[in-house]
Each structure stands twice: as C-alpha cells, then as structure tokens.
C-alpha cells in the first residue's frame, strides 16, 4: 500500500465509513488535518462557533440517521469544550467518533502549550478512547473506533491524535475486519429465556410494555408493532423511546416517567406484567424503585446485561439485540391475545386524566400543540432539558423513529439547537425544529452564525417565559415559592436575530399563533420564533424526584375528577409526598 500521512488516513477513514459531514473547529495541532481536508471535497466540514456544539451537532446527525456522527477539535481547550457533548452522547448511547488533536507525541506530559490529557478526562464518558502515538496504529484504531461506536450498545469513542502523528507517513492498510478479544456483539437470544418470556406474556392479564431507545438503535420498530398488536399490549415509551411506536396508534400511551402521562404511570402501577424493551429503567422513569410496578412481574429485554437488575429486579429477561428477541417471540406467539377489560380500564384513565391545555392563555403547551398540528407530528424535533422538553414529549405526537432528539440522560441545556443543525445536515429535505427555552438557548445561540453561514433551514421555537422554568417549578412546589436565581433576563431576541441575519417572528397571543407557524414554515432559511408565553406554567403530571409512581401529582386543572384512591396525591399534598407511605395502588381489586 502507498504511504500516506496520518491526516490523509483520518480523511480516508471518514470516507470509508460514509461520513459526508463532520463538525469541528481548527487549532494549532490539527493544522495538518485541516490542510489535508482541502483535498477531500466529498467530506463537508462544518465550522462551528464552539466545540461543545460540534459534539451536539454530531450527536444530532447520529440521532437523525442512526449513523455515526463525527466531531473534531484541537487540543487543550478545544478538546475540553467537547466534554459536555461527549458525556451527553454517552448517557444516551449515541454512536459518535470524536477526534481530537494533541501536542506532538514527544511533548506529551511536559505541560506543552494547549496540552491536556483528554484521554484521561474522557475515560468515564466514552465507550472507549485512544491516544495514538504511532502512525502505524492509526488505520486500525480508526477502524476499530467506528466499529465500537456503532455496534452493541452504541456510544461515543474518542481518538486523540498528536500533531506529529497527523504528519508522519505509513503504508499500513485499514483492517478488513475488526477482531477485538473480549468485545462481543450481543448474543442470539437464548431459547430458554425466550420460552420463559412467552409463558409470562401468555399468562398476563394486565400487561404493559415500556419501549426505550434500544428499540430505536436496534431498529426494531416493525417487530415491536407486531409484538404489541399480536399480544394486545399497551405501549409506553421512555423519553428517548418516543417515535419507536407510532403515537397515533391505539395501543400507544405516550411517555411515562416523572412527567409522563398519567395513564402510563397508572397502568404500570396496576399492571401484572411490565416488559421493558431496550429501556434502562432510569430514576426519572421508575420514581422510587421499591414502589415501581409493585403489582407486576418485570420482564426485561436488553442487549446490555449490565442493565438487567441495575435499578429494578426483573423476574426474567432476555439478553440480546431487541430486534432479534422480538423477532423470535413473534415467531412463537402468533395467535392473537386480547385483554379487553384491561384495555377498557386504560381507556377510562385516558378519558379521566388527559393532558390539559387550558384555553384562553398563551402557554408553552398551546405553542407545542400547534407545532404538532402544523407539522402533523412528522418534523424532526430537538430539545434541551426542562419544561419545554417535557411538554414537547407530551404534546408532539411522533409517528416515526429518528425524528426525536432530546438530551435524556445528561439533561444538557443548550443541546437542542445545535442538535437540530446536525440533524438538518443529515436529512436536508426534512423539516427540522429546535424547541428551546430562554435559558438553554442562551447557552448555545452563537450557532446562529453557523446556521446562517451554511443556510441551515432550521426553525427555532423559543419558548420565552423569563424563567428557568423547571427549576422555578421545583422552587415553587418544594421550596415554598422561594425563587432563587431562576428569573432569566434575555437580550432583545429580535435585534439578536437581525444582527445574525436570521428571520425573526415574535408571537405573544393565541390569535397570532397559526400565522406565525405558517410564516416560519414557509421561510426558506433559519428562523427564530420567539413565543412569549405565560411566565408561571407548571408541567403536570408530576412524580416528585424519588417519589413513588403511585403518588403522581395530577394537573390541578383536572379539578372535575376524583383522583383514584392511594394512587394520586392531590395537588395540595405535594409537600407530604416525599414522606407519604409507599402504598401500592389498589386499582383493580384483583391484585394479589
């Protein structure tokens, strides 16, 4: 093989892996790579305004396609600026390859200018990482990095490359296959575990399933739909599982968790079988694990054995790719099951505890309901973390996978806008919205310039309530209305948009909402829509952190209904919820 430089090897590896776009920011030690880049026009480099956003854009690119996203930063501060973005991707198991330059290999460890130990720093927040000190290792390492990022439980992999390694030459070829001892792809599902699962499903009277992002990354949507329909099992999604099951399907109950729809929460508490599929039962979903699904056996399908039994104790499980697991079960379980009484009870809860959008006020919920209607639930939507995120999860009725990107695990403010830009680069023909709050948007709004420069047609729905809304909500509910550092001043967003050259709309009343949505959607280019909404709006339902899912706080607007006994804490008893005895719900009277 012909000799070529380390920099050329990096570019060649991107092309080999079908990477058409990478997001990055140059600096001293990556100069050889940026120089080489000019020879590779098939790879578009997107120049960001802060490296954190390069990572978030690569993340959005991955979430919109299921493919590996790539970001690039220089040594020292460039590399450390990636850290939040990498941690975000790690928590949500996003396939990413993060490239960093480092000082010359002979200068490492000598506190050289812009030197930092990015390998050491990112050990806890990467699936794996490398410091490549010999150019001869580079072809293999890059191939392995892409392989690790995109197989098994996916995740970010960082490759740190010293400046001289970019410059040195090697004739070493890329490997034709990756063999990493001790790294195994998920096993085929065990027939005995499958048989147990089938028996549990057949015995269940009140089953529900919780579909997580494992269904997304395992691309098991068709299998999930068949499984749910054949076995007549209502489908709840975790936050990141939204979109893996059509929200307009009659079996869909939407999201569950701290701010999940009440029906899903009540159903899990009353169920006799809860099937977790590619979901990791995180604390925002389970609430107090001791009280979680107190009447149910838990069945867990996951490719990561470490997730089984980590937070809740399943009765049985199947380790393996969820697509294979559901496929095997679908082969065995072909006769139609039906649970008419259970479904009836669930329909009753849905009627009794709907999501509320009080009329006559201009609320975040009003805006998000309209966004869903105008885009028919078919746009790509990216969010930060907080109230707007939960309302989007509640009111945006995702029909298809790979359209939803939200910072689930890490809860990163500032994620949504750059993620939306990354998604738009990946799927330029698809409508893309970033839903952000006034707090989060101010963390990464410098990327407006990136959007303008590249003509990225991303719409920003900025829900401006003048507060860090979720923090304010907690201070209202759990800290006796003592607001501490949550009032959020903002610049004049109209002038800001003008300064960046971004189309701007402002809307502060229901009457203008439809026209604003239409105008924003019609404009070809980045648009900032500022919706000046009610300042003190709370997200309901709500399970207080660490509280039992049996004590969900309902929307106080639901005054016309009696909460079911033991299950629903009334709004007034908020403060006692933390100390309330963990009473299992007695909803059906049939629980043993």
């Amino acid at each position: 093989m012909q000799e070529r430089s380390g920099a050329a090897i990096v570019m060649e590896s991107l092309v080999k892996h079908g990477i058409d776009t990478l997001f990055g920011y140059p600096g001293g030690v990556v100069l050889p790579l940026y120089d080489e880049m000019l020879n590779w026009p098939q790879v578009k480099h997107v120049l960001v305004r802060h490296e954190q956003c390069a990572a978030h854009m690569a993340d959005g690119y991955a979430r919109a396609t299921g493919r590996v996203g790539v970001c690039l930063a220089t040594s020292g501060p460039g590399a450390t600026n990636l850290v939040t973005g990498i941690a975000n991707a790690m928590m949500d198991s996003i396939p990413m390859v993060c490239l960093t330059g480092n000082v010359n290999s002979w200068a490492i460890g000598k506190d050289a200018f812009q030197e930092t130990d990015i390998q050491g720093i990112t050990i806890p927040i990467t699936k794996h990482n490398y410091l490549v000190t010999d150019v001869n290792d580079l072809p293999y390492v890059l191939a392995e990095a892409f392989y690790l990022a995109n197989t098994g439980r996916k995740g970010p992999v960082l490759v740190d490359i010293p400046k001289d390694v970019f410059q040195k030459m090697t004739s070493n070829p890329f490997p034709t296959e990756i063999h990493r001892r001790g790294y195994q792809l998920p096993p085929d599902p065990d027939p005995a575990q499958i048989a147990t699962a089938v028996a549990m499903i057949e015995a269940a009277q009140r089953p529900v399933l919780i579909a997580g992002a494992g269904v997304l990354w395992g691309e098991a949507f068709d299998e999930l739909k068949t499984f749910a329909e054949t076995n007549d099992i209502p489908v709840i999604n975790s936050l990141l599982g939204l979109g893996t099951f059509p929200r307009d399907h009659e079996l869909s109950l939407g999201m569950m968790g701290m701010h999940g729809e009440a029906t899903g929460t009540l159903a899990v508490q009353a169920a006799d079988l809860v099937i977790g599929i590619g979901a990791r039962f995180d604390d925002r979903l389970t609430g107090d694990t001791k009280a979680f699904a107190a009447n149910a056996k838990i069945l867990h399908f996951d490719l990561d054995p470490a997730e089984v039994g980590k937070t809740v104790s399943p009765r049985a499980w199947v380790i393996g790719d969820v697509k294979a697991t559901l496929g095997e079960i679908n082969k065995l379980r072909t006769t139609q099951l039906s649970h008419p009484e259970w479904r009836e009870q669930i329909r009753g809860w849905q009627a009794q505890y709907p999501l509320m959008v009080p009329e006559g006020k201009f609320l975040s919920r009003t805006v998000l309901r309209a966004l869903n209607e105008h885009t028919n639930g078919e746009a790509i939507v990216a969010t930060d973390v907080g109230q707007h995120q939960m309302w989007t999860a509640q009111f945006y009725k995702f029909k298809k996978p790979f359209n939803w990107m939200s910072s689930g695990g890490l809860g990163t403010m500032g994620f949504g806008f750059p993620a939306a830009i990354g998604a738009k680069f990946a799927r330029p023909d698809h409508e893309v919205w970033a839903v952000v709050g006034d707090g989060g948007f101010q963390m990464t709004l410098q990327e407006l310039q990136t959007a303008v420069e590249y003509g990225v047609n991303v719409k920003i729905a900025l829900l401006n309530n003048g507060y860090l809304g979720m923090v304010r909500q907690w201070q209202e509910l759990f800290y006796d209305n003592r607001y501490s550092s949550v009032a959020m001043g903002s610049p004049d967003f109209g002038k800001l948009a003008e300064a960046y050259g971004v189309k701007y709309f402002r809307c502060d009343r229901c009457e203008d909402l439809d026209a604003t949505m239409e105008a924003a959607r019609a404009h070809n280019g980045p648009v900032l829509c500022e919706f000046v909404v009610e300042m003190e709006e709370n997200v309901y339902p709500m399970v207080p952190a660490g509280g039992s899912n049996s004590s969900v706080i309902m929307d106080p607007a639901l005054t016309h209904v009696e909460p079911p006994e033991d299950v629903v804490a009334s709004f007034e008893t908020t403060h006692s919820v933390h100390h309330a005895p963990e009473v299992a719900p007695s909803l059906t009277g049939a629980n043993k």
Partner: protein
C-alpha cells in the same frame, strides 16, 4: 431465634484478564470509583500471555454489587474476561515486606519468629532488617501484629493476587 436473612457486606475476590494498553489501569480503576464500588485491594501484573495483564480486585459489598462489578467490568473494551472467585475453590495470597529495627537483644527472637512464620529476611541495612512474608491476608496481618515489638519502620503490601483451583 432470628431467622431473617441478614445482608452483610462481604469481601469478594474478582479477577480480570485485560489488554495492556495506554489508559487501561486508569480505565479499570476509574470504573470502581465512578460507580461507587468499594475496592479494598487491587493488583495488576503480567500474565501468561504477552500483551495481557491479569488484575485481582477485592470488592466489598453484597452479591448484587459483585454482579454489577462483573457486568460493568465486562463492558470495558480492554477487559477480555472477568469472574468472581469462590473462596472455597481458589487460592489467594499477598506478599508483604516489613522493615523492622530490632534492638541487639531482639535479633535472635526476630529470626526465630520469621522462621516460625515461614518468612524470609532478604536484606538488611545497618540495624534494619527487611522481613518478607507471603500468605493469606489474615496471615499477613498476624505476622504484622507479631512483628510490632520489633519496631516496624515501613510496610509494603502487594494487595491480593488470586487464582481459581
């Protein structure tokens, strides 16, 4: 009589075969720290295969903790294999070097004590003598206790190494 099961925190021996690369030890030890696993002892060294190392960990916790330790270790790309060693079907040993400074009158009884414990005295400098002892953790601690009268100056222990039978 109280027949309820009492969950006690116990010490468990875990061993791992790992690929020896840049950052490997850091990565493995960092896992224990960040997940809050209690690591009572850690040892790493070369093994029968070039390029690989074998690590021995003493982990404190109940069985569910050990299970999570193994599953999380197994997820590390560097870890080739790992397992927990049952006490009844494994051997575990620790080596200790103990520098003592006996008085002239104590010297004979020190050498007798070392013989009694099957220890060694691989070196001496001036009036200081290095005692070497290998045994189980409990035996090492017994020896250290027995050496207290001889004016211990310094103790170095390897941490436990273990192997299944």
């Amino acid at each position: 009589m109280n027949t309820e099961e009492i969950v006690v925190s116990q010490k468990h021996t875990v061993t791992a075969l790992v690929q020896n690369e840049s950052g490997t030890i850091n990565r493995v030890v960092s896992l224990f720290r960040r997940r809050g696993f209690s690591l009572a002892s850690f040892n790493a060294g070369d093994c029968e295969e070039p390029g690989l190392s074998r690590m021995t960990f003493i982990v404190e916790g109940d069985l569910s903790v050990v299970e999570q330790v193994l599953k999380q270790l197994d997820k590390l790309i560097d870890v080739v294999e790992c397992s927990a060693l049952p006490a009844e079907s494994s051997v575990s040993r620790e080596l200790a070097l103990i520098r003592v400074q006996p008085t002239a009158e104590q010297r004979d009884s020190l050498y007798n004590l070392v013989l009694e414990f099957y220890g060694k005295t691989p070196g001496a400098q001036g009036d200081q003598i290095v005692v070497e002892f290998t045994g189980s953790v409990a035996e090492v601690e017994d020896v250290i206790k027995a050496l207290q009268p001889f004016h211990i100056q310094e103790i170095v222990r390897t941490g436990v190494v273990a192997m299944s039978l």
